[in-house]
């Protein structure tokens, strides 16, 4: 056997180290190459028979939505998928089976195929805020709703469905287990991903009004499809934790977001742009949120809201609490930025009962 001397070993290590250093010195390009698959997948959407407009125009013009193009062209080409003719802009399904109403709500806005194409890398982002309480306390998203989304996405040909959140207290592992989401997702064939420090990177927010860059979890930006699935609950300063607030689980330095919370959440939403928002209002936490822990604060509402428009979904959810959309600062800020509409009268809403 050839003997590796210390000198040879050190030389090898130096070459390896230098190679790694050179490779690692190609910095900010990180964001760029990861965007390459995106235009490709967009063209796929454009070619798909269900899509109405053949142009790559970002508006789902078919439904005549009031979404305005952003002031500056967004780096991320992630846009809401065009809706098939006849599909509702927003759906509110009510019924006792969380799985059933989730499926019905999605069917009403054009079906899962509108959002998931074959081979897609899908991330489902529920709210798993801590490991304190089980799902019956309504501080974490309903496991059945999450599992249904996993099943639907896999059924529509997704290559991979990951479910993740970044709890604000305690470890992801403990919170995943306690929420019941881990078990349900694994049974449905999805993966739970522990959000790793290495995958957060400072990212520019091109249209950000208050913050121009923030440390964001890169896979969320790289995935083909992000499904945002918050639970509707009470929250001290934001008043309600809904879809916009749920995006805080995709960034680091969350205490910092709380300064000028409404605008900063809207800024994050302008970057992350989840293409599908499902609001779980099967159980709603009416007080002592977002942490909960008291069954008296839980209201069984048996409702699921679905829309491609995060602002519209949140706007509708505020009405479940007897509030108006403009009462919630991040809903108002997001609408003002053109991320969606909070004018519920201007959109087509379907309300199936199951």
């Amino acid at each position: 056997m050839k003997v590796v001397t210390r000198r040879v070993f050190l030389r090898g290590m130096m070459i390896l180290g230098a190679g790694a250093a050179i490779a690692a010195c190609a910095p900010k390009s990180v964001v760029v190459p990861t965007q390459e698959p995106k235009p490709a997948s967009l063209t796929k959407i454009a070619e798909a028979p269900t899509s109405v407009p053949a142009s790559a125009s970002p508006e789902p013009a078919a439904t005549g939505t009031p979404i305005q193009p952003s002031a500056t062209p967004v780096v991320k080409a992630r846009t809401p998928s065009p809706a098939p003719a006849g599909a509702a802009y927003l759906a509110v399904a009510r019924g006792t089976s969380p799985a059933e109403i989730t499926m019905r709500a999605i069917a009403a806005i054009g079906g899962i195929e509108r959002f998931v194409k074959k081979g897609y890398d899908v991330i489902v982002k529920p709210n798993i805020c801590n490991a304190n309480n089980g799902p019956e306390y309504a501080s974490t998203t309903n496991p059945e709703v999450v599992a249904t989304l996993v099943k639907l996405a896999l059924g529509a040909g997704a290559k991979r469905v990951r479910v993740m959140d970044y709890p604000f207290a305690g470890s992801g592992q403990a919170a995943y287990a306690r929420s019941g989401i881990e078990e349900a997702v694994k049974a449905a064939g999805g993966e739970m991903e522990l959000m790793a420090a290495m995958k957060f990177a400072d990212t520019k927010i091109p249209v950000g009004q208050d913050i121009k860059s923030w440390p964001v979890y890169q896979p969320i930006l790289e995935a083909d499809l992000v499904i945002n699935v918050p639970i509707a609950k009470d929250h001290g300063i934001a008043r309600l934790t809904l879809a916009g607030k749920n995006l805080m689980g995709t960034v680091e330095n969350r205490p910092g977001i709380h300064r000028n919370l409404g605008q900063r959440i809207a800024d994050i939403a302008s970057l992350v742009k989840p293409q599908l928002t499902i609001i779980d209002a099967v159980r709603m936490l009416m007080a002592n949120g977002p942490t909960g822990g008291n069954l008296n604060d839980v209201k069984q509402a048996n409702t699921v809201i679905a829309s491609h428009d995060i602002v519209a979904a949140d706007a509708y959810a505020t009405t479940l609490f007897g509030l108006r959309p403009e009462d919630i600062s991040y809903v108002a800020a997001s609408a003002k930025m053109g991320l969606g509409t909070m004018d519920l009268k201007s959109i087509k809403i379907e309300e199936p009962d199951v």
């Binding site: 690692a24 995958k199 001290g236 709380h258």
Partner: protein, 505 residues
Amino acid sequence: MKIAHWRRARQVIQALALVFFLGLAVYSWRSLRSPSPAGIPLRLDPLAALAAMLAERRWLTAFIPALVLVAASILLGRFWCGWLCPLGTLIDWISPRHLAGTEPAPSSRWRSVKYALLFVTLFAALWGNLTLLFLDPLTIFLRSVSTLLLPALNWLITQAEITLYRVVFLRGALEALDALLRSALLSYKQPYYGGAVLFVLFLGGILALGLIVRRAWCRYLCPLGGMIAFVSKASWLKRRVSDSCVSCGACARHCPMGTIDADKGYASDSGECTLCLDCAPVCPKGAISFGGDWRVDRGWSYDPSRRQALGALGASLAGLALLKLNPRAHHPDPHRLRPPGAKEESLLSSCIRCGACLHVCPTHGLQPSLTQTGLEGLGTPLLVPRLGHCEYSCTACGNTCPTGAIPRLSQPEKLEHPIGKAYIDPKICIPWSGRGDCIVCEEMCPLPQKAIFLRETSFTDNIGEVRTFLAPIVLHERCIGCGLCESKCPVNGEAAIRVVVDPMS
């Protein structure tokens, strides 16, 4: 089986035991599994057992394994030191082989230091003080693993991941590696321990002594070694040298404990012999054997004596007086937060300083006390919420503590034992000081009935403009002092909301 084979077996068992102790420590870290087995090795420790029972003046069932070890030592002598002790194995591995026979031979009288330490430890325990258990090898081992080895490993691997993640083609492999390591070994957040440098110097010092004189720690200093040596004086299994000995001295040169005495016909002290069996295979005449013999091994210059015991009694009293004169005892630090349910009064005389509680704390908020509780409290657990809060659903520390210094509480019981109370400093609190909305503390409060509520507060500034903020207020009758608010408070430096020992209790 020949002695050489037994020696080989000893080496294998040593390695396996080290892997076991290390594996158990890694397995039990940050209490991913419940109940955590982090405290189990400590239950084998007869020194910790006797000292804790003396200090608490009650029988502790958890320490039955230590009795087994004592009984085994009456039969087999200091086999613990030679075959099982993780610190002993590390010292063996670090000692250069070429030391054999060339090392300086300090006077054997130094061996009595370990007996002195043993006696002082036990007398101090009788007076309710357990500070010296800081020197117990099993506590040294666990403390070093949990405050140094694992945090350093966690930091290095995480930093390497962050660096290498920029290389795009490595990402797939890194993700798989991280998913594996993060769930089984590493922590979701980087732990930081005050005193880690002190502990590394301490462990490093012990190992470094082994570079000068093999097993110097075990020969001269280790108080647990002293206790087992004391018992082993009367042990049954003893080393024997037959008449065929030609006085070549090979065995004495190879003995890592240096206990084979040429002046006594190459006999050894059964209180020093660790039954490592290094001596037998090197004997050219095969004159060394091991067999049963109930005689008590006396007549060594360093044997423990009545005078030494009396001296230790005096030293323990003098030391105790010195520790008790610490002004901190009468003017306690208000941030001296103890784990849930632990009582300051009884903690010092029931905590064996093993660090199992810090080891299992999932947020790494439990820290070893350095100066906050004086020398007397060295190594006892303190909660430092800025480094990690007490997790609402966790009861790991009490369930791991081998002595009950932290009581074994269920999660609802834990909530009945407040760690302290949170107080807001309005000078730096963002809304209270008029600098904007914040409320992170209220958001974080994990209680089903939040202990922090928000009150609309307004004031008129110097240009006559009325500013209105939601300002947090603590409801002290609800607060359990978990410190999650302090841990997440977004101001720089110390938090604007801090948990202190309940000033009204």
